[in-house]
Amino acid sequence: MRSRFGTAILAAILTAAPLGAQVLLPMKSGSVRFLVIGDAGTGGREQYDVANQIIRYDKTFPFTFALMLGDNIYGSERPQDFDRKFTRPYKTLLDKGIEFNAALGNHDDPNQRFYKPFNLGGNRYRTFKKGNVRFFVIDSNYLDPEQLKWLDKELAASGSDWKIAYFHHPLYTTARRGPEVEVRAVLEPLFVKHGVDVVFSGHEHIYERYKPQKGIYYFTVGGAAKLRKGDTHPSPMLAARFDRDRSFLLAEIAGDSLYFQTVSRTGAVVDKGVLARREVRPPATPTAAPAAAKTP
């Protein structure tokens, strides 16, 4: 168990801006910048370590909002749990006005939708827009026909350049529990039909980035507090994977490019790249070749 003094020293080191967060994003004027974290709400030391690293990066790469991929609060959900597992670790970011946009995980009480700082507005699923990007927050725990109908309608109505969906369960993963094939069976056809560009999920406590599947980029970013060491496995479908430590992802969208970098708890960059926006295709040609990813 680390001593309180040791923790304070580590926190001071991790949050010290001059130590140079290795920001590889272009920080273009007018770009949409955001943070992605998944499975964060343990209230444990690792969550605080990751949070401190995020705060450190925010000093160099200021972002305006965050996507939470579910399992926002593990275990009991008393007021003091929300304090220990959310408001305290991210206090610096919350005080700056950074907006957290949560999706619900299987460990989350659906009443989290009433918790204002999670910005669900009383709903299990919702959509919001930032710049030229439309985000779709999906409740993958309970994909009732009502929600699927809503998603189909909202995706069809989206006039945004970028369509990004995020939810808890990964449609593709090499991790032990495997992909959520049932969730994939109902969501993927809608994503393909409406030209979703990128999907972020958590649930598996690792980091993975898939090569485009049916034209869609899939990320699993489920290690913002918990870790299942060694739980990613080589696959020709994978573009990158990291399972040695906790991680988070920073993204920047400028025009038709999405720049990203994934950072470990210690501040090391474990993945980076730039994705081209998938062209909006008519529903009749959903299997057209995907746009290529390249490293900057």
């Binding site: 993958s140 725990n141 026909p145 049932e182 969730v183 109902v186």
Partner: protein, 196 residues
């Protein structure tokens, strides 16, 4: 109010009709056109409507919940609502909403649906129960906050009768559970609903 059955469910429902008849559902001698499945589903809808009406009066007494920064407010309100529901349904017992006829029909539908799924899907469904060891759900019990809410199989939901927004189905081991979402109260349980 429950919506009309979609075509897919209708097909399944018709195929499962025999199971309902086998449970001793009253035979309509004077109205040969009546489908026993429709009767069972209509009865279920009526029971759900009855609960929704009761719930509305209880919600009126504890107040609607709007998004708030205060988790304490959310917890207090959920607790009040749960206590009111449990008190108002103190005599509730398994089968009050999931009647034996409804249970027989649903178990058949679920079994048929499971048999159509490949092993990989069934394994995923079993894995989802791994985090719920030794949890035996009971009527009027609060769903333990220390357990996750096992993801409901996405392809199974469309074959079940739709529920009002305030309610949901959950699977716990081999039980189908009916849960009031905001109050976190288990309203009914159906043992042996899910093949193991």
């Amino acid at each position: 109010m429950l919506r009309a059955l979609d075509f897919r469910r209708l097909v399944l429902v018709v195929s499962a009709g025999a199971a309902v008849a086998a449970t001793g559902c009253k035979k309509e001698e004077t109205k040969p056109a009546a489908n026993p499945t429709d009767t069972v589903f209509a009865d279920f809808a009526k029971r759900i409507d009855g609960y929704v009406k009761l719930r509305k009066t209880l919600v009126d007494s504890v107040g609607e919940l709007d998004p708030t920064k205060s988790q304490a407010e959310i917890t207090t309100r959920a607790t009040k609502l749960a206590n009111s529901i449990i008190a108002a349904r103190a005599q509730a017992k398994p089968g009050d909403i999931f009647t034996p006829e409804f249970s027989a029909l649903i178990a058949t539908l679920i079994k048929q649906e499971y048999s159509r799924r490949p092993d990989s899907v069934q394994e995923t469904r079993e894995d989802q129960q791994d985090e719920l060891p030794n949890f035996v759900p009971k009527v009027n019990q609060l769903y333990p906050t220390t357990y996750p809410l096992a993801t409901f199989p996405a392809t199974l939901l469309p074959i079940l009768p739709p529920l009002p927004e305030a309610l949901e189905y959950r699977i716990v081991q081999n039980y189908l559970v009916l849960r009031d979402i905001e109050a976190n109260v288990i309203l009914d349980v159906m043992p042996n609903a899910v093949p193991t």
